[in-house]
Every structure is written in C-alpha cells, then in structure tokens.
Symmetry: C2
Amino acid sequence: MLNLSNEFIEKLQEQIQAGKDQEILSVIGDLHPADIAEVFDELRGEETAFVYKLLNKELAADVLVELEEDVREHLLASLTSREIATEVIDRIDSDDAADMIAELSNEKIEEIISHIDDQEQASDLIDLLNYEEGTAGSLMAKELVKVNQNWTVTQAIREMRRQAEDLENVYTIYVVDDQDKLLGKLSLKTLLFSASTTRTIIKDLYNPKELEKVLAEDDSEKVIHVMDKYDLVALPVTNDGGQLLGRITIDDAVDVLREEADKDYQMASGISEDVESDDSIYTLTRARLPWLLIGLAGGIAGAYVIGAFDIENNPRMALFIPLIAAMGGNVGVQSAAIVVQGLANSSIRPDQVAGRLVKELGVGLLNGIICGAIILMASIVLNFGMAISLTVSISLLTVITFAALFGTFVPLVLNKYKIDPALATGPFITTANDIFGLIIYFVTGNLIASMF
Amino acid sequence: MLNLSNEFIEKLQEQIQAGKDQEILSVIGDLHPADIAEVFDELRGEETAFVYKLLNKELAADVLVELEEDVREHLLASLTSREIATEVIDRIDSDDAADMIAELSNEKIEEIISHIDDQEQASDLIDLLNYEEGTAGSLMAKELVKVNQNWTVTQAIREMRRQAEDLENVYTIYVVDDQDKLLGKLSLKTLLFSASTTRTIIKDLYNPKELEKVLAEDDSEKVIHVMDKYDLVALPVTNDGGQLLGRITIDDAVDVLREEADKDYQMASGISEDVESDDSIYTLTRARLPWLLIGLAGGIAGAYVIGAFDIENNPRMALFIPLIAAMGGNVGVQSAAIVVQGLANSSIRPDQVAGRLVKELGVGLLNGIICGAIILMASIVLNFGMAISLTVSISLLTVITFAALFGTFVPLVLNKYKIDPALATGPFITTANDIFGLIIYFVTGNLIASMF
C-alpha cells in the first residue's frame, strides 16, 4: 500500500519536469491502479497527461476507472473518441465504461460508441447508459459467468473459461435455462469439487431456493439492503420476465453505501451538495450557503417574534433567548436523526408511525423534565429571579417536548411522500424549532409576568 | 426476500400460542437465517425461545449469528454451556463465535471453551477473544483456504477440498511457505482453469506482487480503507513475522463501515451513544441528555454574556440574538463536518493543515460577506434602524469567519491528539460558537452605539 507524502509528489514532479520517462515508470509502473490514481489527484493537469501517456494501455485504462471525476475529465479530453473506444472502453468492465462516458456530452458518447467494433459490447453499453441513476440497472455490469442448467460440468467449465477470460473476479456462477431465465447460482467451489465427476449435470448441483436477485428498475437502496442482509458479494439483476441482465458486485454497492452515508451526514451538517475538502472555495461556499440563507430568514423571523412580545419593557427575557433557541434546534435534530437512521436501516416500518410518536413523546417529556428541573434550580441559585426562572423552565419543558415530536413527525411525513427524510435533519427543523421555541418562550413569559 | 408485516407477526404469534409446531416450521423453516432473525426481533422473549427450539441445529446456529445483541443474549441464557459449545460454536465461523461469546461473562466463556472438544478450535477462539476491539484481529476469522507454494495443482485441490468443507464462501486461496508465511494469493478461477495441467506447481501460478494484507494489530479503519481502495472481498491478516493468521471478509468490513458512519452521523446530530429507534425510552433519553446538558450550560453562559452587556439599556439588541447564535453554530458544524469527512476518507492529509485553514478562511469570508450584505440590506429595508443593521451585519461577517476557522481547527487538533475528530461536530463547536458569537455581537454593538 502506498503512503503518499509531499516529498513523493515533489520528487515525481521534478522527474516529470526533467522528462525522465524511465525513472517515472520505475516509480509508478508497478503500483496498483488505485494508487496511481491517488498520485494523479495530486498532480497538475499537464503532469497527469504526461505520466498517463507513459503507462501501458491496460494499466492506463484501469487508472482512468479509479480517478476522481474532474481529473478523469481532463484526461479524457486529451484522447480522441477512437482512442477512448479502443484503448479504454475495450479494456474495462461495462459498468465502469458506462459510468465513465456518461460524464461526457451526448455527441461525444455517440462518437465513441460508433468506434466500438464489437456490436454486442456497443449495445450492452447503450443498455447500461439508459438506466436511471439510483437504480440497480445503473450499478450492474454485463460481465458475468452463466451456465445452462442442462450442461455437464465439463461443458460448463469449458464455457466458463471462455466467458471468464476478461473477468478479474468470478464470485458466483449463474444458472439459466434456454431462455436465459435466471434459475439459481453455483459457487466456484462446488464446481471445482465436482470437476472429477465431470458428467454431472448442472441442474443437480445448484439449490434453486438460495437465490436473491433484484430487478433492473429497483432502487439502489434495495440493492444495498439485500447485499448487506444476506452477506452477498455479487447480486444478479433480472428484467420483469426473470431473464438475467447483469450482476452488481459488492465494491459498487459499498460505494453507494458510502455515498448515501456521506450525503446524510452532510445534510445533518447543513451542507447541501456533495462536496469534498479539496473542492474549490466557490464550490464549498455554494454548498454551504443554502442553509445559511434559511438560517438568515429564520433569524429575521425570530427578530419579529421577539419584537412582537414587547422586549423593551421586559429586557431580562433576552437573557435566555440563546438557551431556548439552541435547545429546540438540538432536540429537533436528535429526534429527526434517529428517524432518518431507522428508515435507512429499515428498523422503522411505515406501519409503526403512531408507536414512534408515542415513544418520542416519552423521550421528549423525560428530557424536558430533567432539563427543566435543572434550569429551574440553576437560575434560582444564580439569582435570575423567580419569574424568569419559572418562565425558562416551563417553556424549556414545552419546547423540548414539542421539538421532539416535530423532529420525529417531519421526516416520517417526508418519507411517506417519497421525499428524502434526511432533508428534515437540515435547516428546516432547526429553523422552525428556533421560531416555535421563541414563541413558546415569550407566550409563557407573558403569562407568568401577568401572574406575578 | 421476506417482507415483514404486522399481520405476518400476529399470525405467527397465534400459531405459537396454539403450539402448532408444524405450521410454524412450514412458515419459518425455509427462510434465510437473516430473515428468521428479523422475525425474532419482533417476537417476545418466550416466543423466540419456543420457535428457536423448533429449528434444526444448523439453522438455529446461523440464526443466532444474525440476531440483535439483546435478543441473542436472551436465547443464549436459555442454553447450557455444553449446548453453546457443541450445537452453536461448532457450527459457525470462528469470528462470529468469538463475537457471540465475547458478550458473555468470563466465567461462562471459560465453561463454554472447556466444552469444545477440538483443541485447535478452542485455541483459535481464545486467540480471537484476545484481540482488542477495533483491531484487524478482532474482525478476522480463522477459517481460510491456504496452499503451500511447493504443492502441485492436484495436491492443492485435494487439500483445499478438506479445508473448504466448512467454508461457505471461498473467495481467495492464500499461498504460504513451509513456515506458514504469507506469500501471495491465487483466485479459484486460476486454479480451476489450471485443473487440467495438474502437475503445475503453485509457485508458478500466483503473482507475488499482488498482495494486500494487514497486521492483526492494525486498526479497523485501515482494514476498511484497504478493502475499499483495492476492491477486495477478503483481506488476509498476518503477524509481525508475516505469518498468516486469518482473513477478514467484506461483509464484516461493511458492518464496521456502517457502524462508523452511524456513529459519526449520531455525533453530528448530538446523540452520544449508539442507539436505535427501537431502544427503550430510558436508553434513548440517556443518549440524548449529554448534548442537552452541555447546551444548558452554554445557555446559562450565554445569559451571563447578554447580562454583562447592559441589555436593559439597549433592548433592541435582543432582536438578533437568535440569528447570531444560529449562524455561528451552523457554520461551525458545516466546517467541522467537512474536515471530519475528509479525515475519514483520507482526502485530508495531516501535512495539509495550513492549507485547509487558509481555504476555510476564504470560504468563511465569502459566506460572511454574502450573508452580511444580505442582512444589512434586509434590516435597513425592514426598518430596524441603522445602528443595529450595521451591528448585525458586521458581527455576522465576523462570527461566520471565526466559526469557519474554529470549526476547521478543532477537529484537526483532536485528530492530531488521536481523539475522534467527530466529537467536534457535536456539542462543543455549537455551544462554543454560540457564546463567541454573542460576545462578538455585543462588543460590535457597543462600539457602534458609541459612534452613533
């Protein structure tokens, strides 16, 4: 495994400057494509292009697959459509090829496809490009090993040898009938250990009960759920008629899992686009501005709430504004986060909504009573005065309970209407709870002031 | 794939009540262990125990592996140590066995191990129990297929058949020397296609350059990073001397990845323990209370800040307290989240700290200028008055810039001292930024008031 350092990159840049091809190749040429991609991410555009041309074609294609999108875009722009078709697409898996060219213009895509000689390969690629992002179809590769149920082990092994030539990893062998309908799967292990009884028919080797599969139009969350639950390293994809279309491998499912987790995390942190720390200042600012603007609007609304409640005659009420606002937002985010996670890992079922709300009422009340009691004692001991101490503790109990219910309710409703529930952990809940909290606080304050 | 519904569970519960063993088995007996575990999670303790006893031993053991910890604990308590040793441990993978009994008391563990007949199995289990949680050793299983470099293909296949008998999935065959030192790996595919040239020596079949491995004491984050980067489905684990100790499979790495993501997400949402939506009200409250208590303390500190700045003579300053507090907290969390993610996926290297801070200064200033300009215009148009409009916009620019730098700095420092940087996305940053924000706001307010 490569440990990248600034020194490594600087030395490489010197060698590129000096045009020392052989030295560069001796450093880079034996690395894993994923390591070379990591090096490329650190180089400047023209340096990347220089090193890329030195690599042998097979390795160069594998490196392209591993690159960050922006670096790859730059390199692909330096290749002709014919080069992309014959030197890249032809050397990589169909799913990687589809992902790669999907980033290009429609015109360029057509040009590239017209340069692919193998008609089956071209039509596979067109198929894959047509699946919508976020579906099982968009994750699958066409490359797989399949055997007919009526073949003997010997026939199967001979056929597989042909099919598996281009395949780096064979995890599972799929068993199909004459119409290409998926019937089951067979492990390489079973086949290997049957290699001595070569006249056995495939039909007698596989267990038709053990077969998890998804449809091409199923969404990627289902793919992850099935692969995770049943510990699969490959998952076959079929059409409505049950015909085998392709397979999804675990590495691609893990990438989706990671992207989903990153997205939820970013939403919970108020970041609206998928950004990385090495993106530009402009991109990073743009990703963060939407939440800030909603926060600004909420802040102005808050100013009106405070203004409406005659703060000038009761300025001591100002002291606990930050406390009330912070607690409402916090509790709302906590509640929403638990629902979002529960929906993501399927531990909350849609028919359990009422139960969730009752439980959350309990959690909200318990937290509210504890926090309310603490703040009551603290503010009396700290001599803030009885009226304001009572106001803060009663409104805090109310705010926490309300925020807990609201934070639970909103993501459940979003989910019901097929909107990403993670949205609820972002600006919406926090800002709404800020404002509701202030209203509760000042209404309580007025009530209590009128009693004293 | 099973789609659990309330009706399914209710019908099953009726059958359990009526003691209809055969009907229950016909519904449950053919399901995947992971599905049965999902059903068990929905049943009451005594119902689970009843159905468990009906299952055949092999299936029952697999179901135990898949269960949630609390359900499993209940079932294990109903089994004797001898039963656990001979009917469960003996039928499952060593890593699952170690995870399962690690949850029990030391006394019970010793009893169970004393009932394991196979001495090698017992010592493997003791080995695995000794690895600290969070290390590669704690994730690995002892079951694997290895061949000696000097064997012929025929010998290797014969040996493998013996080794792989208990193994559900064989992903990779490891090549070792006479001292059990790991030399390389071989795919089943290569071996299968060499089966006709049976006198080939293993040494001539594998590529010694292609071998990623970890040490038993490496931490689990490295395991995930290596498996993800190189798209591996199994990763061998060695000791310092390079001897093969076990292998980690992708399903276990994915579990760790998911746990890490969940933990980071919960921290960012202010939840301090790993909780799930179906935990008890008490557990859920306990997990959420720490952040709320820190929030309370911050709120009281905020009251002192506001009190110190003579709010009684300038009550209009109260209006924008929620805005300033919310924006400081939001920006801090955004900045910290980007650093935490960057560190998690290794896109931020420790030697890039200065660069990060400079970039964040840019992002903070840009967001600050935009938000400051908007609030300046808005509050003038909305007639809040010049003094307060200037105060809010200038302090907002300052607060956003400061919060961006502070939010970036804290997780980087935590990481440097080997503390989980995700802590920074929780209460600490938000509360600190609330207080700093208020101080900046009131100092600015006093300065500007003295000028008008």
